[in-house]
């Protein structure tokens, strides 16, 4: 039976957790609330801006924003670039990670290769902006989604390799050996055993890559000018001659956030640990 002191401690912890959650959710709520207000209400709203109670909500901001062609293009660009980058990164990175985890390279040791992959993330992206700009100019890929996908992939690839390598290393090697003894080649072993068992790590990695690419601003600012504008870049352009239009900005932010949140909620059920339980002695 729980003692009183423990119960008190539990409720104190819950209170703390609720406070922290409120602290982080409030800006989100405020943004949503602002997007439903008339521009006039932006700063003059009373209370904590509860719709119908403190002001009468309107969808005018949303309608006017969704009517902008550039806005819609930016969403499409972001979706295409982020999905393609995730897919390309996984296609290239996951086999590399598997090779690093399971095979022994002779000329350069596996450890050195892994560190080399990791070292790509140490370089500050801004240092590579000019070389990338020149490369894309040479390839005629400036202001294209393809250009953005290529650049983003070079930055997310090391991340995918390092995370997935660890996931494969953690997988009991006997499973793959048993599969080899059962008559599979290395590719079948990878696709039928290793990959399905690493599904949780795989979905986590793709989510992180997706979020990383979705939020990426620096490269889009440099590479894109008209055709390949992404959502973060579009939001950063919300500053107009009249100053920041918070009512529009909040609509754009809400739209920008909604898609990754939706994907994360959908992918959540795949990120469940414990799929490997019972494989080996448990």
């Amino acid at each position: 039976m729980k003692t009183r002191a423990l119960e008190f401690q539990d409720s104190l912890l819950s209170l703390l957790a609720i406070t922290i959650v409120l602290f982080f959710i409030f800006p989100l709520y405020w943004g949503f609330s602002t997007s439903l207000r008339n521009p006039l209400d932006t700063f003059t709203v009373t209370g904590i801006g509860i719709p119908w109670l403190n002001f009468s909500p309107t969808l005018n901001n949303w309608v006017s924003q969704l009517e902008i062609v550039e806005m819609r293009n930016a969403v499409v660009n972001s979706v295409v670039v982020s999905f393609s980058t995730s897919l390309l990164t996984l296609c290239l990175g996951v086999p590399a990670a598997y090779a690093l985890a399971r095979f022994r390279f002779k000329k350069i040791s596996n450890k050195d290769l892994t560190v080399w992959f990791l070292s790509q993330r140490i370089l500050p992206p801004v240092a590579t902006v000019i070389p990338f700009y020149l490369t894309l100019q040479f390839l005629n890929l400036l202001d294209t989604r393809t250009g953005l996908i290529l650049i983003n992939t070079t930055f997310t690839l090391p991340f995918a390799v390092v995370i997935m390598r660890q996931a494969f290393v953690d997988l009991p090697v006997e499973l793959e050996e048993a599969c080899l003894m059962d008559g599979a080649n290395y590719f079948t072993t990878f696709s039928k055993i290793a990959l399905p068992l690493c599904a949780p790590a795989l979905s986590a990695t793709s989510l992180i890559i997706f979020a990383f690419t979705w939020n990426e601003l620096l490269f889009s600012l440099v590479i894109s000018s008209k055709n390949a504008i992404t959502i973060p870049m579009f939001i950063s352009g919300s500053f107009e001659s009249r100053g920041v239009q918070f009512w529009f900005l909040s609509v754009r932010t809400m739209i920008a956030m909604s898609i990754p949140i939706l994907i994360a909620l959908l992918a959540q059920r795949y990120i469940v640990r414990g799929l490997t339980l019972g494989a080996v002695k448990g």
Binding site: L175, L180, D182, G278
Partner: protein, 360 residues
């Protein structure tokens, strides 16, 4: 059905050689056990036969086929892993049939074979479960089922019982023996447990530090260990070893000074030592007697008594403070710190030279 031959097999990990030229021949339908302490290279040897480990030097034949460069699946061997290695994302049925499916065996045929294996192993009602829902013993059966359906010419077992509890281990041991009798296939079994080796093997290969120390039937190894390592490894409790001094050699008659006052005489043919040399005398605990018999005797002081019911283990210190183990019957009347006389006959004495080899 196949013989397995290893010719001068060596294995190095980086610079370190762990198996130093092993030659062995396993007959068709034989149940062979590789036994040895941890790190002796027994599992590595098995994995080289399976094709899971590169061979640094030497040749392996399964049947008449030279298999060094063959893919694991093409060697006709199937393996049961220590950790069972069941695919957690597949049902028991899929686990057992997976190898057949990979080899594009028709579905009906797979179903028939899986059902047959399940019947042999009595796991018919478990076929639709996942490995995570099975107990250790059941997982072990599924792992064995996975090998049976492939009808291999050699079964390889890598410490398959070490994760089971004691009672289940005894049961599975008997089932494996029955399986061997039914399938009549060559089986190679790796274990560090000498009881498993003694009970199941047709022949035992004792490995130590990457060398084969001795090969023989269980009783051969028990009765005539070739060296101190084998003598100490086979048998439980462990054989007692005493340092003895050679006092006198007359033809084949050797007189030895035992710890304390006692002396004894032994007959040996190959005398490669001189008077004054220190040799090692080995006597198994079960060959010591506390009641006076003909033969030799030793004085000792009882240190610890362990009563197991059916028998009693007595740990006693001899005159040079060696700890001796004596196995006596359950009702033995001894007490701590009692001075006792330990009797034994020369038939049960093993003599080892300074090179640790047995002197016959």
């Amino acid at each position: 059905m196949a013989e397995v031959k290893l010719r001068n097999i060596k294995k190095s990990f980086d610079e370190v050689e762990v198996i130093h030229g092993v030659d062995l021949e396993i007959k068709d339908q034989e149940f062979v056990v590789f036994v040895g302490p941890s790190g002796c290279g027994k599992s590595t040897l098995l994995r080289m036969i399976a094709g899971l480990e590169d061979i640094t030097a030497g040749e392996i034949y399964i049947g008449d086929t030279y298999v060094n460069d063959l893919h694991p699946a093409d060697r006709g061997a199937a393996m049961v892993f220590q950790s069972y290695a069941l695919y957690p994302h597949m049902s028991v049925r899929e686990n057992i049939g997976f190898g057949l499916k990979l080899n594009k065996v028709p579905k009906a045929e797979i179903q028939r074979k899986v059902a047959e294996a399940a019947k042999i192993l009595k796991i018919e009602e478990l076929l639709d479960r996942r490995p995570g829902q099975l107990s250790g013993g059941q997982r072990q059966r599924v792992a064995i089922g996975r090998t049976i359906v492939r009808e291999p010419s050699v079964f390889l077992f890598d410490e398959p019982l070490s994760n089971l509890d004691a009672a289940l281990r005894v049961q599975m041991r008997m089932e494996l023996e029955k399986l061997h009798a039914n399938l009549k296939t060559t089986m190679i079994y790796v274990t560090h447990d000498q009881v498993e080796a003694m009970t199941m093997a047709d022949r035992i290969f004792i490995l130590n530090d990457g060398y084969v120390e001795q090969v023989g039937t269980p009783l051969e190894l028990y009765r005539k260990p070739a060296n101190i390592f084998v003598a100490g490894f086979i048998g439980s409790p462990k054989m007692n070893f005493l340092s003895v001094k050679v006092l006198q050699i007359e033809g084949q008659q050797i007189t030895l000074q035992l710890p304390g006052e006692d002396q004894m005489q032994l007959q040996r043919e190959n005398i490669n030592f001189q008077a004054g040399d220190i040799l090692t005398l080995g006597i198994r605990p079960e060959h010591f007697e506390l009641e006076q018999t003909k033969g030799c005797s030793l004085s000792a002081t009882v240190d610890i008594i362990e009563r197991l019911g059916n028998e009693t283990y007595i740990y006693a210190n001899d005159a040079s403070d060696n700890l001796l183990t004596v196995v006596g019957d359950g009702e033995l009347d001894v007490s701590n710190n009692e001075k006792i006389k330990i009797y034994f006959t020369t038939d049960h004495c093993h003599l080892f030279g300074r090179d640790d080899q047995s002197i016959q």
